[in-house]
Structure formats: C-alpha cells, structure tokens
C-alpha cells in the first residue's frame, strides 16, 4: 500500500507541476515555435497536396490547405518513368556500394591517423587536411577524371569521394578518445593491429560509424553534381539529376515542339516525394546513433 501511495503522489504533483510551470512566456514560446514548425512542415504538406491534385486545382490555388480533388496521375507518371527508375537504381547502387566504400576508407584512414607510432603521420594528415581548404579547380579536376578513365563511368561518383576529410577527422578524434590501454592490453595478449582494429576498436565505434554512414548515405542519395559534369550515358544518371532535369525542363522554354506533355508542378512534387520518402523512412532508425555520434566525435581535438 505504501508503494502505491508513493507512486501516486509524485504523479499528481508532476501533473500539477507541469501546468503550474507553464507561464505566459511559455505560451508565447509555444506559439512562436508552433508557427516556426508550421513554416517547416507546411511546404512538405503543400507539396504532398499538389502532388495528388489535378493541375486546375493547383492553378487556382497554389497554396492548398485541404485537397479539393484527388488524382494519382502524377504518381502513375512517376512510376511509369523509366528515367526515374533508372536513376533510382543508380542511386541505390551508390547508396550501398558508395557508402560502404567511403566508410571503409574513411574509417581505416581515421584509425591509422589516430595511432601515434608511425613515421610520416603528420605529413599524411596535413596532405589530407589541405584538401579541405584548397582545390585544384574544375578544369584540372576534369583532366584528372578524364585521364583516370572515369569519365562517363558510374565509378566517377564513388572513387573520388573515397575519403571525406571532415568525417575522417571525426573518426580519428573518436578513435583517439578511446583508452590506449585497450590497445596495449590486446597487444600483450598477442593481437596484431588488424585484430585490434576489427576486434576491439570497430565494435566500440558503432555510434560513430552509424553517424558518418548516415552522412555518406545522405550524400550519396542526394548526389548529382559529379553525374551532371561527368556522366553522358543516361543509364548512369542519378535519381537527383533526373529529378533536377525534370523540374528544370518543365519550366524551361525549349524551342523544339515537344510532343510529350510538359511536366506539371504536380509531377514535380510527385517526383520530389519519390526521392525523399525513402530517406525519410530510413532516417529515424539511425537518428539516435546520429545524435550520440556527433557528441562523442567532438570530445578530443
């Protein structure tokens, strides 16, 4: 009985306290934050409504609050678009292969640079860091890609981004923040560097791996620039590039008579949802790692 009364009392107090603690200023903050939240959410909501509305509804009311009439024609057109599906396949490939590739190289580089016992470490470190601040420019980069034989190859969207300096530094700092005693203990037990890395450090780095993995995944999902510059073959165009072309073409004035319908706003919005929904579904499952990983990587400079 005592236990019941103990659990009951705080609940009542907490409830009363909650409302007691909400003052006039809080309500003002609620309103301001509510408006702010609406400003962020409404464009998505409006885009969703436009994507399921016929064109005449959008023409009459570009800013919709409630749907006037439903149509799924835009989504039908999206799902029938071979270019979008082709882009989806390419982006999926980048998401899986590119993310694994970037993660692997970034993590092993971060680990190697977090160890203090090898010659030339600072030189390598500085050579990588300098790429954060200075680039060769577009034309030398173009030459490099061309001479590597990567032009018009799907690998042009994967190989040049093998190591992301910022994420590598995060990883390096995280490894450096782990107790060095563990490495010494493992070596005492006869483990070599690879065993230590894969058996001890990597399992301890899951939050960081999830974080930078998410960075890479989002980056690969949104990837279009390299494809725009270096890809001619339509079958290697990424989803975002296809989307960009659809949106831009629909608002451009091509001189040539086009016998297919020009894409409407509704189609654009349906395309946008087609591209963002997979990432929106994926993101919440990694969010807890994401927040934690950001914090742990920042402990040591």
């Amino acid at each position: 009985m005592k236990a019941v009364s103990i659990t009951h009392k705080p609940r009542k107090t907490r409830k009363n306290g909650l409302f007691n603690r909400i003052g006039g200023l809080d309500w003002i903050l609620f309103v301001i934050l509510g408006i702010y939240a609406l400003m962020i959410i409404y464009p998505f909501y409006n885009a969703l409504l436009i994507s399921v509305s016929p064109e005449w509804v959008y023409m009459e009311t570009p800013f919709l609050i409630v749907p006037k009439e439903f149509t799924f024609d835009n989504y039908k057109a999206v799902f029938q678009s071979s270019a979008l599906w082709s882009g989806f396949r390419v982006t999926l490939f980048l998401l899986v292969v590119g993310t694994a590739y970037q993660l692997f190289f970034t993590v092993i580089t971060g680990y190697a640079l977090s160890r203090s016992n090898w010659l030339g470490k600072n030189l390598v470190m500085n050579m990588i860091i300098v790429t954060m601040f200075f680039g060769g420019g577009l034309i030398p980069y173009y030459y490099l890609i061309k001479n590597l034989g990567l032009y018009n190859e799907i690998w042009v969207m994967i190989i040049p981004g093998a190591i992301d300096t910022y994420n590598m530094l995060l990883m390096r700092n995280y490894f450096a923040s782990l107790p060095a005693d563990m490495e010494e203990s493992a070596k005492t037990d006869g483990a070599n560097d690879i065993q230590i890395f894969f058996g001890i450090y990597l399992p301890m780095s899951l939050p960081m791996l999830a974080t930078i993995g998410l960075f890479f995944a989002v980056g690969n999902w949104n990837s279009w620039y390299n494809a725009m510059l270096f890809i001619e073959n339509p079958k290697y165009k990424t989803l975002q590039l296809v989307l960009r072309e659809i949106i831009v073409t629909s608002s451009s004035q091509m001189e040539v008579p086009r016998n297919v319908d020009v894409y409407s706003e509704g189609l654009n919005m349906a395309c946008i949802f087609f591209t963002i929904v997979p990432m929106m579904c994926f993101y919440p499952f990694l969010q807890r790692f994401f927040v934690k990983g950001l914090v742990v990587g920042a402990i040591k400079g």
Partner: protein
C-alpha cells in the same frame, strides 16, 4: 581470426579491383563488327537514348554505331565548357551559340583548335550546302573563311523569317464580354489601351487578375513599341550608343513605369518578383488578360493545352477565344517584333575526330535533310509506318502508329527525328508531322501570314542589332556584354517598380565599362 583476415583481404582486393576497373583505356573508334562509333550529344536528345528501329536502320545504312547522350537545359553551359576546356568533347556536340557567348565559345574553340571546321567544298552534301545558304548572318560565323559549326536552322522551307514570335495572346472572350473586342483581333494602340483598362476595371478587383503580364525575360514588352534596338546597343548617326538611355527607350520606360507602379496598375502581377514560368501559370489559371509570350509552336501548344484543362473551357471555340493571338500596332501605327536569327544553337564537331568520321556524320545529316530522311523523321519506315499512294498521299499504318483513347497518335522514339536536330529544329515538318497540334499550328500560321503581309506593306518594325556590332569581338565586349545586358534589364525592372530613381537608372549606364565597350565598338566600325 583467420576468417576475419580473409574477409578483410577480400574487401581490399574487391575495392582495388573496383578502382582499377575505372582506369580504362581510351575508348575504341570502331565496334567489334567494324562499325564506326559516333558519339553525339545534343540538348534535344533528352527523351531519346537510341536503340529504336529507326536508329538501327540509320546505323545499318551508314555502317555506324550511334551513341547518343543529352545535355540538361539547366547545366548546358557547364556540360559543354568542362569537356571543351579539357579536350574531352563528344564527336558531335550541341551548344547554345549566340552573339553574347560567340567570342568565348565558338571563336575561342575554333582558334584554340578544339573544334573542327566544315570542309570548304560541300558539294558532296547538297542538302547541307543548300541549308547553310539560308542561314542568317552566316558570314559573321566564319573565321578565316571557315565555318566551325552547323547552325540549327528553324525552318528550312521557310527560312526568311527573321523575327522572334514574341507577341500577345489574350482572352478574346473577356474582350467580347466587355464590348472592347476588335475584329480579327487587330488593335490600334488606343484600342489596346482601352482593352487593358476595361480588363483592369472589370477583372482586377482585389488584385487577383492582371490586365497585362509579360513572360519574365520579355518584361516590359510595351517598350518594344518605342525602342529602336533590341538589346544593349542602338545606332545613332552611324555610332553605337547605349540603347537603355535613348529618348525612345525612356519614353517606353516611363509608360511601363506608369502601368506597373504609377497608379494605373495595368501590370497587376508583380513582375519584379516573378520566377521563370510564373506568369504563364497565371495565364493558364485565368488570372491574366493579355500575356506577352514567346509563341513558338511548342509554347503555344502547351499554352492551349493548359488553358484547355480548365473546366469552363470545354469547347474548341471557348479554347480559341481564351488563347487568341492579338495584333497590336504601336503609337506609330506599326507592329513591332524583335528580330533574331533564323537559327537557334549550333552543332559542333570535336577537333579530335578524323576527316573520315566528319564525312560520315555529314553523310548522315545530309541524308536526314533529304526527302528520304525527312520522311523517316516525320513518319518512320516506309511500308511499316506509312505508305505513299501514286498521287503522293501519305497514309499512316496502324502497325507503326498507335493511338491513345482520344484517337491521337502516340509519340514513338524515332532516332531519325532526333538525329535531324543536329541540323534543324524541324519546323519544316510541322505541316505534316502527325504529332503536331494542327489547330495551334493553324492559328500561328494565320498570325504569321498577317505579320508577313504587314511587313510587306511597311507596317512592321523589326528590332534588330547591326550584325557588325552584334557579332563583333573586342576585348571588353566579348567578356562583359552579357553582363551589361543582364544589369541593364535589372535596372529597367528596378526603375519600373520604383526601386531606383531616374538619375540612378541613368547613372547605371554611364559606368567605365559601358564607356570602354562603346569605345571599342565605335572604333571598330570606324566612328
């Protein structure tokens, strides 16, 4: 532990293989079965990737393997300049050549050896030679007597038109309803203003409908009835002057200001804040009475389709009334249109291709411009897609031409049609292309005939820039003229919407850069 080590080794080896795979050798010039590979990149290929029966027919006929790829409208410049500056151009490529980028693209590439000139003797390709003979300002494009591109002529059959179809489309139904309609849609300057005032009074309540609105890059259209030159440079007494501050231009500017922010509110739509395509959407939605638009067939077809989707526009007559083309003469009693080339953009050839390859490409283009190629581009393969009677009448066959539920022909990917975009925009096929909206075409043709009649009677003012100034390459003009035009148009908009004073407006055209460029032009033309 051994398993982990094996796994690591596998990953490393796989990644190394992936990396090395990327480092391929130079691509082959011929396929294994001996066909010459042609890499062709063109803006208009965006819906076509090859592989269709028509492309195969051409490939077999000419013993080539065509690898098409497209540019994107938004990234055209980047996608051309990058490869051009790193010697990585496709065999055949397409670029939006105009007088503003002429020096930095065409001339730069030709003199720098990035692009290949056409042969001097084109007798082996009579259709190409014939077409080039119709290209406006062709001599301005030649460097040391050589031509380094094929301009995409708009209409081979009717190449004499040297004006852009920027004009007014309007709600004839509103005009009739308000009693301001003029027969045959012909309006004098006063009648035009009366109509706008009537539209404003009857339709603009609450500011939701604009009596007049212009396509974003054509605003303010009414200056066309006053100014003497289309863009930056006007000629006065044989010398080049800044067009934006000529008395004629400023007269039109003051009227535009009055209509936009001076109280009359004729321009009810905020053109200053409009994004590309906004005004067209307003017209489709019935919120604009008179719309100044680039009425190419493609745009006019789209406009009619969009307006026709509105519930109340449920008959052809209503659609025609809601999308009528207006013929407006200015204060001087003359119609005014902006002049332009009879071509848009150009096809270039990489300097890296052999003479044999260039000849092969020219063979294909020449065939496509001939009767057989044109028929194939329009209809398809004879006796499969179409037949021709003894009297020359074409009948489309069901095997090749499917129809939708409304009975309209469904477009099919026809490589011949796309490859023809290497030389022409193909307006010559509009009359018989089964996919063209014939009602839109008929209205545009009628308007064009009217304009040509007025032109013949001296009632048309075509705003053109002197070719010797337009295509002139000088140090500063080549580099900064595009920026001058952009800034000039921005100043016009700012003044019209009251963001700057007249003094500030005028000062923006007396900068050192303007002085340098006008000096260069006048020096070059001997003034």
């Amino acid at each position: 532990m051994k398993k982990i080590l094996s796994l690591v080794l596998c990953i490393v080896l796989s990644l190394a293989a992936v990396t090395l795979y990327g480092c391929k050798k130079k691509p082959n010039e011929y396929t294994k079965d001996g066909r010459m590979i042609l890499k062709i990149r063109n803006l208009y290929f965006n819906e076509w990737t090859g592989g269709d029966a028509y492309t195969s027919y051409i490939e077999d006929k000419f013993g080539v393997a065509i690898e098409p790829s497209s540019y994107s409208w938004a990234d055209w410049d980047n996608q051309v300049y990058g490869p051009a500056n790193s010697n990585n151009l496709s065999d055949v490529f397409h670029f939006s050549l105009d007088s503003y980028n002429f020096a930095n693209s065409y001339e730069f590439w030709a003199r720098g050896g990035s692009t290949k000139a056409l042969p001097d003797d084109l007798s082996a390709w009579p259709h190409i030679a014939d077409m080039l003979g119709k290209v406006s300002n062709l001599n301005e494009l030649k460097i040391n007597g050589k031509l380094y591109c094929i301009p995409l002529i708009k209409n081979i059959k009717d190449a004499d038109d040297d004006y852009s179809p920027f004009t007014y489309v309007y709600r004839r139904d509103w005009a009739k309803e308000l009693g301001v309609y003029q027969e045959d849609d012909v309006y004098t300057w006063n009648q035009f203003q009366n109509l706008l005032s009537a539209f404003y009074r009857a339709k603009s309540e609450g500011g939701s409908v604009a009596a007049l609105a212009d396509v974003e890059w054509g605003f303010p259209s009414i200056i066309n009835f006053y100014k003497t030159a289309p863009h930056c440079f006007a000629m006065e007494g044989g010398s080049a002057v800044c067009n934006f501050v000529t008395p004629q231009f400023k007269q039109g500017l003051e009227l535009a200001k009055n209509w936009a922010s001076g109280g009359t509110n004729i321009y009810g739509f905020d053109q200053y804040a409009a994004n590309d395509g906004d005004v067209a959407k307003q017209f489709y939605a019935g919120r604009v009475g008179v719309f100044y638009e680039n009425l190419s067939l493609a745009n006019y077809t789209t406009l009619r389709k969009k307006v026709g989707e509105r519930k109340e526009i449920d008959t052809k007559e209503k659609l025609d009334d809601a999308t009528a083309i207006m013929k407006v003469s200015g204060p001087d009693g003359k119609y005014a249109l902006e002049g332009g080339e009879n071509w848009f953009s150009a096809t270039f050839f990489s300097a890296d291709i052999s003479d044999e390859k260039l000849n092969k490409i020219l063979d294909i283009i020449d065939w496509l411009l001939g009767e057989e190629g044109t028929m194939m581009a329009a209809y398809g393969i004879k006796d499969y897609d179409y037949t021709v009677s003894n009297g020359g009448e074409v009948t489309l066959l069901e095997a090749g031409w499917e129809r939708d539920i409304n009975g309209k022909y469904i477009e099919k990917l026809n490589g011949a049609k796309y490859l023809r975009y290497m030389a022409t925009l193909g307006y010559d096929m509009n009359d018989y292309d089964p996919l063209v909206d014939k009602e839109a075409l008929s209205i545009l043709t009628e308007w064009k005939e009217f304009i040509n009649r007025e032109n013949a009677q001296g009632n048309l003012r075509i705003l053109t820039e002197d070719p010797s100034v337009k295509w002139l390459s000088t140090t500063n003009k080549s580099q900064y003229a595009g920026g001058l035009l952009e800034n000039g148009n921005a100043s016009v908009q700012k003044y019209v919407y009251g963001k700057i004073t007249l003094g500030e407006y005028e000062n923006s055209f007396t900068t050192q850069r303007w002085g340098q460029i006008l000096g260069e032009i006048n020096s070059a033309i001997g003034k």
